[in-house]
């Protein structure tokens, strides 16, 4: 019987999203919060790529790491596995920030 990974709701006719295993309401909640964080990560990432100022770069790297970790936490709250792309992004910008700070 289909069951939502977040709220535990189950039923024969319960619609579950194939990608996430969440019911429509939980999936919508995840998508709304995820969109905000993803937007912030991408804005900071693209700004960091163009930035030539070291101080600004360090600050942007920290923002990417922080927003990225928030998105990982959101995944965990919804019992979802964060994507490899997200984990790599956090790792890359953490290292980049540390190197720029030296």
């Amino acid at each position: 019987m289909p069951q939502c990974k977040k709220c535990g709701k189950k039923g024969l006719f319960l619609k579950i999203e194939g990608d996430t295993g969440l019911c429509l309401a939980c999936n919508e909640g995840f998508a709304q919060e995820g969109k905000i964080l993803t937007q912030k990560i991408i804005e900071a990432k693209n700004e960091a790529t163009a930035s030539k100022d070291t101080k600004k770069l360090v600050s942007l790297c920290k923002s990417i790491e922080a927003y990225g970790n928030d998105l990982v936490a959101l995944h965990r709250a919804y019992n979802l596995q964060p994507s490899q792309e997200l984990l790599d992004l956090i790792g890359t910008y953490k290292k980049m920030g540390e190197q720029a700070e030296k």
């Binding site: 996430t20 995840f30 998508a31 995820g34 969109k35 993803t38 937007q39 990560i41 991408i42 990432k45 693209n46 790529t49 163009a50 990225g68 998105l71 995944h75 979802l80 964060p82 994507s83 490899q84 792309e85 997200l86 790599d88 992004l89 890359t92 910008y93």
Partner: protein
């Protein structure tokens, strides 16, 4: 000569401009213009879970800017192309890139040979392929780099 593997030509995803699928065509063009000098002519498109959904290539953008009916004319647009481009494009520029992007239709393994990657690209008409290590996405490989390696090897035969 030992055949190079895909892993020798991997480019990290972070090198490319990233955009969410709800970003607009106008924003994608701005990103590509910023990235133009780095030689990366593709925007990687992500969903709200930061998972790679697809790629927006220059050809996807040019196709998106064409008036709908022009796509049926193989040898140019018969009338008033400039005017149509101007008036039609304004509307298109505000549309989400999800509508224009190329979906990821194939991947290649990091341990595969560059010839296999080249074959997949030709077969799928893909310029960029995601590279997997097991079930992990570790980067992309692009046609230009494969072309360079393969043609150099062929000429040196």
């Amino acid at each position: 000569m030992e055949t190079k593997k895909v892993k020798d030509l991997i480019i990290p995803l972070t090198d490319y401009p990233h955009m969410p699928y709800w970003g607009t065509l106008r924003e994608a063009i701005a990103q590509l213009n910023v990235a133009f000098e780095t030689g990366h002519h593709t925007v990687l498109v992500f969903d709200e879970a930061y998972k790679l959904m697809g790629m927006l290539l220059e050809k996807d953008i040019l196709k998106g800017l064409e008036p709908k009916f022009a796509q049926h004319h193989e040898e140019g647009v018969p009338i008033m192309w400039d005017h149509l481009l101007k008036s039609g494009a304004e509307k298109q520029l505000g549309r989400p890139i999800k509508e224009f992007m190329s979906a990821v239709t194939a991947t290649v393994d990091a341990e595969d040979s560059i010839l296999k990657a080249s074959h997949i690209m030709v077969l799928r008409n893909a310029y960029l392929l995601p590279v997997m290590e097991g079930d992990k996405l570790i980067g992309v490989v692009r046609m230009g780099d494969l072309f360079h390696q393969i043609t150099n090897a062929v000429l040196a035969l």
